[in-house]
């Protein structure tokens, strides 16, 4: 697994890793410079100005304004470089490309469950192709967890009741750690797993080998039928609930006069607690499915509803919420 055995540095296995490590070394260099400067100063002063006889007192020096300004302003400026660099790599890490592969993760005391759009479901293992951006949409079934991929230098909290996401592009075939980094109770340190980065062909073969329940959308469709969602949500828009065709990415007007953009989080909330946001012109009739649909199944339902908005969800299984693609982002390295 990776280059374990060299206990200093995690493997650089994503496009972020080099950027983050370079930033890390930059800060080490700057802080090393200041730490060394102050250390040498206090040691040298301690030796040169050591007390030589009992009655000796120090010189009366009250301060020096130019010096005070210099050592306030120069560190401020240097720290702004750190801030800018850190903020730009953060922005990059928080902005998944539109063509990213979409995978769902659900944290649960004490395991990670992953679902691929093609239907594969796995526990504590995550198979991804090398060289392709992957967006992971994350939630939790119980308490807060955090999905951490140290070799990819990224992590994101899994928060019950909402979707968060992270993305990465693996650069090296191999197996890497998955950790939970938000303390979640008894077996927190057992909530670990492995990301398996594969050649694209192997990944395709792996995908083909599973998914007895059909694709995620197919599973969602079956759930949609089993839960009788279609009795109200008619395609015609004449049902007791709004039509679900072509809604993703649109802004809907709500009964209370506000508006909301339809994304995965909105869909999820509308299923488990539809009363939270009622579309204008409709009655709050829909039952709350809170507690009746597991997070895994919610994911399938959300994907199914997304599939009803073909133009919003392009052919590639990309997220409706993904902001504009930073395709030409110069910080992105292969």
């Amino acid at each position: 697994m990776g280059s374990f055995g060299i206990p200093l540095f995690p493997e650089q296995a994503s496009t972020f890793a080099r950027d983050v490590d370079a930033l890390y070394f930059f800060i080490i260099a700057v802080s090393g410079f200041f730490a060394l400067g102050v250390t040498v100063a206090v040691i040298v002063f301690g030796i040169v100005f050591r007390r030589r006889h009992a009655g000796e007192v120090g010189a009366r020096i009250e301060g020096n304004l130019p010096l005070e300004l210099a050592w306030s302003i120069i560190p401020t400026m240097i720290s702004m470089v750190m801030f800018g660099w850190g903020a730009s790599s953060y922005f990059h890490m928080r902005t998944p490309p539109a063509e990213a592969l979409n995978i769902y993760a659900v944290g649960k005391q004490w395991m990670w469950k992953f679902q691929h759009l093609e239907g594969q479901r796995e526990i504590n293992e995550l198979h991804v192709p090398v060289g392709r951006p992957v967006k992971v949409t994350i939630t939790s079934e119980d308490v807060v967890h955090s999905l951490y991929l140290p070799s990819f230098r990224t992590k994101m909290d899994a928060i019950p009741g909402r979707y968060t996401h992270l993305w990465f592009e693996a650069t090296k075939v191999g197996e890497y750690h998955i950790f939970c980094t938000e303390y979640c109770g008894t077996n927190h340190s057992g909530m670990i797993g492995t990301v398996v980065v594969m050649e694209p062909n192997d990944y395709q073969a792996w995908l083909a080998g599973g998914g007895v329940e059909g694709t995620l959308v197919e599973r969602g469709q079956r759930l949609f039928q089993d839960l009788a969602c279609g009795t109200c949500h008619l395609d015609t828009g004449k049902g007791r609930g709004p039509s679900l065709n072509d809604i993703v990415g649109k802004t809907v007007a709500l009964a209370d006069g506000s508006t909301a953009v339809v994304d995965e989080g909105y869909l999820r909330e509308s299923i488990i607690n539809s009363q939270a946001k009622i579309v204008q012109g409709y009655q709050p009739l829909m039952p709350a499915f809170q507690g009746l649909v597991s997070e895994d199944n919610l994911v399938a339902l959300v994907e199914y509803v997304k599939s009803l908005s073909p133009q919003a969800t392009t052919t590639a299984p990309a997220a409706a919420t993904a902001p504009a693609a930073p395709a030409a982002d110069p910080t992105k390295k292969k």
Partner: protein
């Protein structure tokens, strides 16, 4: 000359005997001593929990304790150390004892409230002990919801109430200090003649008074959710789990400055005294304390960079976190400049101050890594963060506290401790500390998450180093207990001003009489004036 020194006949320690004379005292000095004993006991207990954690982590498998037991160990370690040791430490012991004499007053403004603060700490601790003996608590000292409010089945409510009640102890102490510093300064003691120790405590008190009520309310919300089923943080019932994190850190980030600012105050006094020189840039050091207190309230969300907050708010909080680092840097530069052309000697308190420089530098500078968004995503909630805040809170705050205790011990007790053993202990603490916590930075960057009972094999070497360091550190912390106790009976008599220091508190006899000063002192000069005459009389050993 040493032989001629005698303890004063009448002083605060022998003014009244028996338990009652202590428990009902209004003397800030006696209250400080009771705080000293109380928090030393808490430090010992917190240390035992830490030892248990370090022993478990020597092997990758979770083989010594059950997972639940381990989780309780680190939780109770954190709760005890933060709420019952570090927050009270320097302010309640040294601040309590020294602020009145430093400003030429007989006592704090509200002596009875001062005693009440101590009792509140005890009541809070009683709740904690109840939780401990009823089976402990396993939420981490941060009590994150919905784990603490819905999932944990340990003793969350009594522990939370313990923290809540001890919070009021802290609020009342802060209030007392603020009023005292405003109203009771000696004639001639203007704001800019105050010792920097007093400025630091003034800033600390502001945080205590403004911040602690927020965490108190937050803790009550968790308790109410647990006991009565109100939906506040539980998302299943419409609550917001992340709201807790915002509220908690709105207090707890400033609270980390409650722990470090008083220690910074100690360092200013010690550095000035042992270099016999006024503090370089007095007003910059004084105002940086206030700047820290103010900015400290504006950076809480840097604990939430991966908790789903918006990208832009993360950027704002990152920016502000860099801003809060500047006043700390300014202080450090000023201390270093103070040494220039000083008359420096290295008695134990100064060794602690030097140790503080080294450790606080590393602690503060690693804060920059965490404030940098791109890096924090990787190291958040790993051992890197654990190492960072231990460098500050143990390396910085406890070094300051211990340095201060060694500095003022002759004032507290009238006697000197063994200079030889105290130097050894200062060195052991410094070496042991670095051995314990430096490897944790590497562990964190390698990706080892915090609060892990078991871990992958490749982390073992660094964990063993850390545990070995903890053993050295433990010895370093235990030694002072021995030589301090020994000094009470056998230590040399110290005299009023063994270090040749300039503060008003050194004009009282050691130990001081209950009323501190026979006559109201009047201040004519600037702070930190050292005259060869006073210096020669110092009976440095």
């Amino acid at each position: 000359m040493l032989d001629t020194l005698k303890l004063p006949e009448r002083h605060y320690l022998n003014n009244g005997h028996g338990l009652k004379s202590w428990l009902l005292t209004k003397d800030h000095k006696r209250i400080a001593i009771m705080y000293l004993i109380s928090i030393s006991v808490m430090f010992l207990i917190g240390g035992l929990f830490a030892a248990a954690v370090r022993v478990e982590l020597m092997t990758p498998e979770g083989d010594l304790f059950l997972a639940d037991t381990y989780n309780k160990m680190f939780t109770m370690h954190g709760v005890v150390m933060v709420f019952f040791f570090l927050i009270p430490s320097t302010p309640a012991v040294l601040g309590n004892f020294l602020i009145p004499p430093m400003i030429g007053a007989k006592d704090l403004a509200f002596p009875r409230i001062n005693l009440l603060s101590l009792y509140l700490l005890w009541v809070g601790a009683a709740f904690f002990f109840y939780a401990l003996f009823a089976g402990g608590v396993d939420t981490g000292w941060t009590f994150y919801t919905p784990f603490s409010s819905s999932a944990s089945n340990s003793n969350v409510v009594p522990t939370a109430l313990g923290a809540f009640i001890s919070g009021f102890s802290s609020i009342l102490t802060g209030l007392n200090f603020i009023v005292t510093i405003h109203r009771m300064r000696a004639p001639g003691l203007t704001w800019f003649r105050l010792p920097l120790f007093v400025w630091a405590h003034y800033a600390t008190s502001l945080i205590q008074v403004l911040g602690t009520p927020v965490v108190a309310i937050t803790i009550v919300m968790v308790a109410v959710e647990r006991m009565f089923g109100f939906a506040i943080f539980d998302p299943v019932r419409g609550g917001d789990p992340v709201l807790f994190q915002h509220l908690f850190w709105f207090y707890s980030h400033p609270a980390v400055y409650i722990m470090i600012l008083p220690a910074m105050g100690v360092i200013s006094e010690v550095v000035s005294t042992f270099s016999r020189k006024t503090i370089f840039g007095y007003s910059f050091v004084a105002f940086s304390s206030l700047a820290i207190a103010v900015f400290g309230f504006l950076v809480w969300a840097h604990h939430l960079f991966v908790a789903g907050i918006s990208t832009y708010s993360a950027m704002v909080f990152s920016f502000l976190s860099f801003a809060v680092a500047i006043p700390s840097a300014v202080k450090t530069f000023n201390w270093a400049a103070t040494l220039y052309k000083g008359a420096i000697s290295f008695e134990t308190p100064m060794l602690y101050a030097y140790g503080f420089f080294g450790l606080f530098l590393i602690g503060g500078l690693t804060g920059l890594f965490l404030a940098t968004l791109g890096v924090d995503i990787h190291v958040h909630d790993t051992y890197f963060v654990v190492a960072h805040f231990h460098y500050i809170m143990v390396g910085g705050a406890i070094m300051g506290y211990l340095g201060g205790l060694h500095f003022w011990w002759p004032k507290l007790t009238g006697r000197m401790y063994s200079e030889f053993f105290s130097r050894i202990s200062a060195i052991l603490v410094f070496v042991g500390f670095n051995l314990t916590f430096f490897p944790q930075f590497m562990l964190g960057y390698m990706g080892m998450p915090r609060r892990y009972h078991a871990y992958p094999d490749e982390f073992q070497v660094l964990n063993i180093m850390s545990s070995a360091g903890a053993a050295v550190l433990g010895v370093g912390y235990l030694l002072p207990v021995l030589y301090f106790l020994w000094s009470l009976k056998r230590g040399e008599v110290a005299g009023p001003n063994p270090w040749g220091a300039s503060g008003l508190e050194w004009q009282m006899p050691s130990p001081p009489p209950t009323e501190n000063f026979k006559e109201q002192p009047v201040v004519h000069g600037e702070p930190y004036e050292y005259t060869p005459h006073v210096a020669r009389e110092a009976n440095l050993v």
